[in-house]
Amino acid sequence: MHEMSIAQSIIDIVQQEMARHQVSRVSVIRLVVGEFTAVVPDSLTFCFELITKDSPLEGVKVELEQVPLTGRCRACGEEFTIREYRFVCPACQSGEVETVGGKELFIKEIEAE
């Protein structure tokens, strides 16, 4: 259940951004979450609701944009979707695969009123 720490980190960042942009109310937080992170979306939104209760962020909508796991072969340049966590190039069978998508975990934007 590290989603609780993640929810707290999101709140810390959003509060800093609210102060920086002199915003008093936020309606939506948009997150980008890669498939290859240990974050369970339902669990994250649940934790978020739980710890924002009776706070200025209560009721804020959390929208998650999920990013599939994709790789690029360092040997032949092939880009492909990684299935079943096989980090092996389907074109040339090389194991030198760089992850290009799926590890994201960031706050993209907030919708302020």
């Binding site: 980190s9 992170t37 980090f87």
Partner: protein, 219 residues
């Protein structure tokens, strides 16, 4: 009104991890973050490792557990400094907890610091603590489907110790399958098959550590 943010959710932890890492570098310390599910054998592996290496290098241990000081006491009985962190329900250690524990050690008199994380195959993988390497244990009794079910930890680890291989005759676990799937996820993973109970297969693991201790190399 849309306000662009584009900030990494775990940035606060990652900043502290960089601070820890800089401190470890300055002190010439090798730091390992040891992770596994509960009961895979982290503490027993540490006891074996401490016994084998404590005459050659100076070792310190940080024990992470939800509750109790049982593990730190166990390690301290082997004659090395051990500090217990209780997370009080938290499922992983983070860089702040490690930073808070560091004043308990004389870092000038250590060559190796091992952080034994909370037993959990999921959450600790997301939180760097400033370590040089993540090391994980999978015991064969957990089954050979675990790399596919918990790929993140296999992907982030540099070493996989397959423990309790003495039990293989009694169970339906294929070490071959564990190796194949783990290497699909992470082709650079170094794999050691060990039995901490029978103390077999541990020599290559000890050699792996010694080869990476900055002080040991310079002696």
């Amino acid at each position: 009104m849309k306000v662009p943010v584009v900030r990494n959710v775990l940035e606060a932890n990652e900043q502290l991890a960089r601070e820890n890492q800089a401190r470890f570098r300055e002190k010439g310390l090798l730091v390992l973050n040891l992770m596994s599910s509960p009961g895979a054998g982290k503490t027993t592996l540490l006891e074996r490792t401490v016994d084998a290496l404590k005459d050659q290098i100076r070792i310190g241990v940080i024990e992470g557990d939800i509750q109790s000081t049982y593990d730190a006491e166990k390690i301290a009985r082997h004659g090395v400094p051990a500090v217990q962190i209780n997370t009080d329900g938290g499922c992983h250690l983070d860089s702040r907890m490690i930073q808070a524990a560091l004043p308990e050690f004389d870092l000038n008199n250590l060559d190796l610091l091992v952080v034994e994380n909370v037993g959990n195959l999921v959450c600790p993988a997301e939180f760097d603590v400033g370590e040089d390497y993540k090391v994980m244990i999978l015991s064969v009794t957990e089954g050979d489907d675990k790399p596919l079910k918990y790929p993140l930890m296999f992907s982030k680890s540099s070493v996989l110790l397959i423990n309790k291989v003495d039990l293989l005759p009694y169970i339906n676990t294929s070490v071959e399958t564990i190796r194949r799937v783990a290497l699909d996820i992470n082709p650079h993973l170094e794999i050691f098959e060990v039995s901490c109970q029978n103390q077999t297969g541990l020599e290559p693991w000890f050699a792996w550590i010694l080869a990476r201790v900055p002080h040991y190399k310079s002696v």
